[in-house]
């Protein structure tokens, strides 16, 4: 039997011949992933939907009004939003240099035997529940920070940021004016931000190519010279990304802020002063006695927070994946 086959040089359809068990397998995990997607989409959509009704009711005033007085029907999130940013920023300013230095220490300076233990320690620090940092901050840290706030007010009070509406030179210092401030809340939040940023940065530094490191040393560079020319540029994506991840965490922190920050709704930049508000604190404290309308307003505030953290974390992800180190880990 002669079989002549003239070559047909076009791609043919490939029948995968997938066994039935695989069709079931793929279908089921796809379905679960879909359910998970739906749940999380629902959260976003849900919060967003409620925002529409709130904006209908209150209009643009919702974003400009600083007070939250439901009984007077005067609610807005301007001070709350500002407070959220200020607390997060304070936390970042404190956490960023410390996280960077600690990450560099673990990756570049620590003795090799200690490294795994130190990495674990950073992970432990991230795992400590925020309620515990909050308790520590309230009882141990706050009394000591009164002195620092007072000092800053006394000597740097000409800067609007550090002003407090009390007399710094009074004979009997009104200590209560320095407690429960955004500054102190920021310090406590920085304890939670630091390990997250540090872990990301350290992971990135560890991937800096040995070849480049050796090249720097071979040229006669010092350790710091090598770090500055090889490790830091390589880790730039991780530094920024890790910081932004920390920022996202700081924006959403609830418990520490609820415990430490005293509630106040002035639209102010005075971080050393008693009183402030953040979105998560607002929601946590006010949802209980909120009418349907106020609940919708709280959900709107939550939606703003949701969008904010999404944006921040998306930027973080972009930075981490675009960097050389991120590209390598994708392989």
């Amino acid at each position: 039997m002669d079989v002549s086959v003239s070559p047909v040089d076009e791609p043919r359809t490939i029948h995968p011949g997938t066994p039935r068990v695989d069709r079931v397998f793929h279908g089921s995990v796809r379905a679960v992933a879909l359910v998970v997607l739906v749940i999380f989409g629902a959260i976003g959509l849900f919060l967003g939907a409620k925002s529409i009704s709130t904006f209908h009711l209150y209009g643009g005033r919702f974003l400009t009004e600083s007070d939250w007085e439901p009984s007077l029907n005067r609610i807005g999130i301007s001070s709350t939003l500002l407070g959220t940013m200020l607390v997060a920023l304070t936390a970042l300013i404190i956490a960023f240099p410390l996280a960077l230095a600690t990450a560099l220490y673990i990756s570049e300076y620590a003795p090799a035997r200690l490294k795994p233990a130190l990495v674990s320690l950073v992970d432990v620090m991230a795992a400590v529940p925020s309620i515990i940092y909050a308790a520590w901050g309230f009882f141990l840290l706050m009394p000591h920070m009164i002195g620092v706030s007072h000092w800053l007010h006394q000597y740097l009070g000409f800067i609007p940021l550090f002003r407090v509406d009390t007399d710094p030179n009074a004979a009997v210092l009104a200590q209560a004016r320095y407690t429960g401030s955004m500054f102190i809340a920021g310090i406590v939040v920085s304890m939670m931000v630091l390990p997250i940023a540090c872990a990301v940065m350290r992971g990135v530094f560890a991937q800096a190519p040995i070849g480049e490191r050796e090249a720097a040393y071979a040229l006669g560079g010092t350790r710091w010279g090598m770090i500055r020319t090889v490790v830091l540029p390589f880790g730039r994506g991780g530094i920024i990304g890790g910081t932004m991840l920390g920022l996202g965490r700081a924006l959403g922190e609830t418990v520490a802020v609820a415990i430490i920050l005293s509630a106040a709704f002035d639209f102010k930049f005075r971080v050393l002063e008693n009183g402030g508000s953040t979105i998560s604190k607002l929601i946590a404290e006010r949802f209980g006695d909120a009418t349907t309308v106020q609940l919708a307003a709280l959900l709107t505030a939550g939606f703003v927070l949701f969008v904010l953290t999404l944006i921040v974390n998306t930027i973080a992800a972009i930075f981490i994946s675009r960097s050389r180190s991120g590209a390598a880990t994708e392989a």
């Binding site: 002669d2 086959v5 040089d9 791609p11 043919r12 995968p16 066994p19």
Partner: protein, 287 residues
Amino acid sequence: MSLPPRSDTPSIIDAGPIVLDAPDMEPAKGGAHLDAMNISAWFGSNKVLELVSLSMNPGTVTALIGPSGCGKSTFLRILNRMHEMVPSAKLAGEVRLNGEDIYGPEQRVTETRKRIGMVFQKPNPFPTMSIAENVIAGLKLTGRKERRAERAELVERSLLRAGVWNEVKDRLDEPGGALSGGQQQRLCIARALAVDPDVLLMDEPCSALDPTSTGRIEETISELMSEVTIVIVTHNMQQAARVSQRCAFFLAEAGTPGGIVESGSTEKIFGDPDDLRTKDYVHGRFG
């Protein structure tokens, strides 16, 4: 089937329709006929193989030789339907196992792969399984149940065929990863043999191994030759000369898809090839 020598024709593919002899319909004892007919392959819009045809017969070791990057491994993976695992992979032509196209619409890919086994370049024993468990992993994975006595017998037989039984018979319960590279590769051969395939494809099986292990595996290949059809990809010409009876020389000129320049008996390819390019390659003038 070889193509006209280069001096006469400007391109590799100017072969015209291929005429094949009628293939044997029953598998000869010890292997099956594997015929690739006008295989072309793409990754996305990038064509990597053009009209490759080759007959691989039982009782023979067919070696696919040629410089790296000309599609030998791609061709091999088409033979056991691993090529299509890449999402952008496309294919034309037929691969017939004892006359039946393995890409036919009613064919089950898992069945095909049981009959056409593969050993990979980097030994990949399953790390969570012992040596014995690794050997019969193919059975466990495909849901075949064997009784305990038969299992032990199968383990021993496969490890014997793979030429590694004496070295591991006292430690069958140790993890599969605790062996040296050469032993791991022979364990993978045993694992592939335990499913009793008709064809064994080997993708540069020795390139990650030292010369001693390479020699042992080449011995194993010679012993297995009479039981399974063997197709081996190698970039080591001397190995091809040692181990194979038939050779196919693959080449991809810059920017063009790869294809077979010449195929024939090993003696001819290495002794007196028709094509100038084959002669240059086997004499080491390019690699």
